[in-house]
């Protein structure tokens, strides 16, 4: 027996672990999986019916993944853009400040106090405020912020030709390049999930439902732990307009009552689904297979079913009779 055989012989005395021994490690991996931005991007939808606002509190925060690196970099650059814009403004404003102009530009510009005030506001404070505003909004995942940022960048581009003086041109170009980098970063594929709006999210802890505003179907953002979930139902609802896909959560018996909306949802064909535990998936292609896969990973035993019912609030009639669920996945 040589040393290799001896090593193998001794190694055989360390058996493979039982799968149960690896459960804690698997749970850590599952947690990482469910918090991965790609899970947000594809597990539920490409867009959403409702945008949870800041007042929605913690559940709304759960509907958005953590800001990815490109967005964080873009936000930092925007704050840098605000600083460089301030620098450009100061350089451009020097001719207006008494005798200082002579040392930098060699000419004097006569202006009234009103003109100076307007110039400061329009060319100085407004652009700086826009930089700061966009940085804050983009950092919060507001999709409009990256659209507005892009439009402002395009609008600011012709202004490069109006710069004179080496220092002024340099800083202006530096600012423009900063804007270019910001736009590029905000539209990177890795940033996409952060700016999406999600009506629902399933993760290792439970299901988060976003806020929904419809005249007859308003719901606040809320979180339902897996312990309270019996089944996830996809169905066609009719609140807030014509037929549209909806998602509902059938809660376990004995689960704590919701703050309100505990009555059976009128359009969900499966009993045990409170009105507040349903959300419309407006303009969204909800991937049932992906949702089922995620659910099976993080909450084995909870099924995702497609249920169908005719139009009308629970009224039987031609084409309106509720049908049984298709069965668990």
């Amino acid at each position: 027996m040589n040393e290799m055989e001896l090593l193998r012989e001794l190694a055989q005395q360390t058996p493979l672990p039982a799968l149960a021994e690896l459960d804690p490690a698997r749970a850590r991996l599952v947690t990482a999986i469910t918090t991965d931005p790609a899970t947000y991007a594809t597990a539920v939808a490409q867009a959403t019916a409702s945008q949870p606002g800041p007042s929605a509190g913690q559940p709304a925060d759960l509907l958005r993944p953590a800001a990815p690196a490109p967005v964080l970099t873009a936000v930092k650059l925007m704050y840098g853009g605000a600083a460089s814009t301030a620098a450009v403004f100061l350089i451009a404003a020097l001719p207006f400040i008494g005798d200082v102009h002579g040392r930098f530009f060699g000419h004097r510009v006569t202006a009234t106090p009103l003109t100076i005030t307007l110039a400061i506001v329009i060319f100085g404070l407004v652009p700086i405020a826009l930089w700061l505003w966009m940085a804050r909004a983009a950092g919060q995942g507001r999709n409009w912020a990256r659209i507005v940022s892009t439009v402002l960048f395009v609008l600011a581009t012709p202004g490069l030709q109006g710069e004179h003086g080496l220092l002024s041109v340099f800083v202006a170009w530096l600012t423009w390049l900063t804007g270019l980098a910001v736009v590029w970063l905000l539209w990177r594929p890795a940033s996409r999930a952060f700016f999406k709006r999600y009506p629902v999210r399933a993760d290792h802890a439970g299901i988060t439902l976003g806020r929904q505003r419809y005249p007859l179907a308003s719901r606040p953002a809320m979180f339902v732990p897996w312990a309270d979930v019996e089944q996830i139902i996809l169905y066609t609802g009719y609140q807030g307009g014509g037929p549209a896909p909806w998602i509902g959560i059938r809660r376990r018996e004995g689960a704590p009552a919701l703050p309100s909306g505990n009555e059976q949802d009128l359009f969900c064909p499966v009993p045990g689904v409170p009105a507040w535990a349903t959300r419309r998936i407006k303009g969204v292609r909800l991937d049932r297979e992906r949702l089922a896969a995620v659910t099976a990973t993080v909450a084995p035993g909870i099924s995702v079913i497609q249920a169908s019912a005719g139009p009308g609030p629970g009224v039987a009639g031609p084409g309106r009779s509720a049908s049984a669920p298709e069965g668990p996945d």
Binding site: M1, E3, L7, R8, L10, L29, A38, A293, T297
Partner: protein
């Protein structure tokens, strides 16, 4: 081992699909975690392996987008990550005798007198072997253990550790020579060999 290699053949497809569907990565865990765990337990002990196996798959998940899909079998990649984590652990702990604890592994319940005698001798061998392994440089030891314990090929070890195949061969040769020298002439080795021959 053959079955395991066959199942590993689809690892690249699993990792590629996990780029868009992260939950698919759990398949890789179910497929390889027990073996990675055992390797870590052998190298660093069971208590540490509990944590390191999780760290291994978390690190793999975090950098799955950089996985070279040209390699269908992800085991060398995972073993490489696990080996790095063990090395990091050793550096952090600065305790070279960790190998001793790993080699002095989980005892089995002896069934008969011969087995008891063999185990006593094997325990002595483990002590000698542990000393020999501890005396190896980390690079030589990693190569030796990946080949002896995990039965990786030279190419797979090369990929796992990010070193050329020639370096793998030279490290293995050096490690085997030193281990052989450490074992040679020990009373435990002779007794153990005798017991093995008589079985």
């Amino acid at each position: 081992m053959r079955r395991r290699r066959a199942s590993a053949a689809g690892d690249a497809a699993v990792i590629e699909s996990s780029w868009r569907e992260p939950e698919r990565f759990a398949v890789l865990f179910d497929r390889h975690a027990p073996h990675i765990y055992r390797y870590l337990a052998r190298c660093a002990g069971r208590q540490v392996a509990d944590d390191l196996v999780a760290e291994t798959f978390l690190a793999a998940f975090a950098k799955r987008d950089r996985y070279d899909l040209g390699y269908a079998d992800a085991r060398p990649w995972l073993y490489g990550i696990a080996t790095n984590l063990v090395g990091q652990h050793r550096r952090d702990q600065a305790r070279q005798h960790r190998i001793s604890q790993a080699a002095a592994a989980e005892p089995e319940v002896p069934g008969h007198a011969e087995r008891v005698a063999a185990d006593v001798t094997a325990q002595a061998m483990r002590t000698v072997l542990a000393g020999a392994l501890a005396a190896l440089s980390p690079g030589d030891r990693d190569v030796l253990l990946l080949i002896a314990w995990e039965q990786l090929t030279y190419q797979e070890v090369s990929r796992a550790l990010g070193i050329p195949v020639g370096t793998v061969q030279s490290r293995l040769h050096r490690a085997r020579t030193k281990t052989r020298q450490a074992l040679a002439g020990t009373e435990a080795a002779a007794t153990y060999e005798e017991l093995r021959t008589n079985e």
